[in-house]
Amino acid sequence: MMIAKIHVTLKGSVLDPQGTTITKSLNSLGYDEVRDVRIGKYMEVKIDTTDRKIAEERVTEMCEKLLANTVIEKYEFELVEA
């Protein structure tokens, strides 16, 4: 078994209104050093394979087809032994 740890985040060129709101909230808590927050999604996908290469191909496909909307989002993942 392997686990794909997937991060889906907005592309850099896309404004993130949630992130902007959280930036302001952190600033108002006194964290003046906070300049920007970007909100994303984290997913763990458990995969029944031990072949890292196949897992990588399959997870890439999953991200392209469903887990990310590549019009506005980008994704990255790492594979770990479960």
Binding site: V14, L67, N69
Partner: protein, 226 residues
């Protein structure tokens, strides 16, 4: 003329759409469950609003993979009419039948109110009973109606006259170019955030949505000599 209104788990504007077709046109209309794979008997498919699959992952993302959406793609490829309203618009963009994506409203609030729309394109099957530039009052009810696409796509939409409705006056969600509704390049697939099916009688606050249904019926009639 035969209409299908798709129903997904979490759809909640499907009955409104059925009633609008019945009340405005009196034409046959069926509610069609998302597991259906054959839509060949229908002339127009309405993908209604709601929260299909609880908006899990992204609004419209899970519904776009339903069996019925394969049939909707075939229906659209055959040149027949498809309308996606609100969540239906989100489903059509996720399916790839329409370009772009609907993001969270820029102010992050859910907006439920009457909005003013400008009819930008009256050469479509859905809008030929309106006047070009006509301002109509149609309700909106969404948290994720902020239309976004890259500049190349926007340029293409403009060049092909695919922007069908824009918000007039106030833009309620931050959409690019004030876009409220677009169609595909062929003009037979329309997606819009506002709800014409909720504006078919003065008692509902507006009857401005009626002309969408009469446009569709007129187009079909002209094509089929009815």
């Amino acid at each position: 003329m035969r209409f299908a209104v798709l129903v997904f788990p979490g759809s909640n504007c499907d009955i409104d759409a059925v009633k609008a077709v019945e009340d405005v046109l009196g034409e046959p209309v069926d509610s069609v469950w998302h597991t259906e794979t054959d839509l060949s008997q229908y002339d127009c498919v309405i993908v209604p609003g709601g929260f299909s699959y609880g908006d899990y992952l992204r609004s419209g993302a899970v519904a776009s993979l339903s069996p019925v959406m394969g049939a909707v793609k075939e229906h659209a490829a055959a040149g027949k009419l498809v309308i996606g309203i609100c969540n239906g618009f989100q489903i059509l963009t996720e399916t790839g039948l329409l370009p772009g994506v609907l993001r969270h409203n820029d102010h992050l609030q859910f907006r439920c109110e009457i909005s003013e729309l400008r009819v930008e394109n009256t050469d479509t099957a859905f809008t030929n009973d309106y006047e070009k530039g006509q301002v109509i009052r149609i309700p909106i009810a969404h948290g994720e109606g902020n239309y976004f696409a890259d500049q190349a796509t926007i340029d293409q939409l403009k060049a092909n006259n695919q922007i069908v409705f824009t918000y007039h006056g106030t833009n309620p969600n931050g959409s690019i170019e004030n876009i409220a509704g677009i169609c595909n390049e062929q003009g037979n697939v329309l997606g819009m955030m506002p709800h014409p099916e909720r504006a078919v009688h003065e008692l509902l606050g507006s009857a401005d949505g009626k002309a969408m249904f009469t446009s569709i019926f007129r187009t079909w009639g002209e094509k089929h000599g009815a």
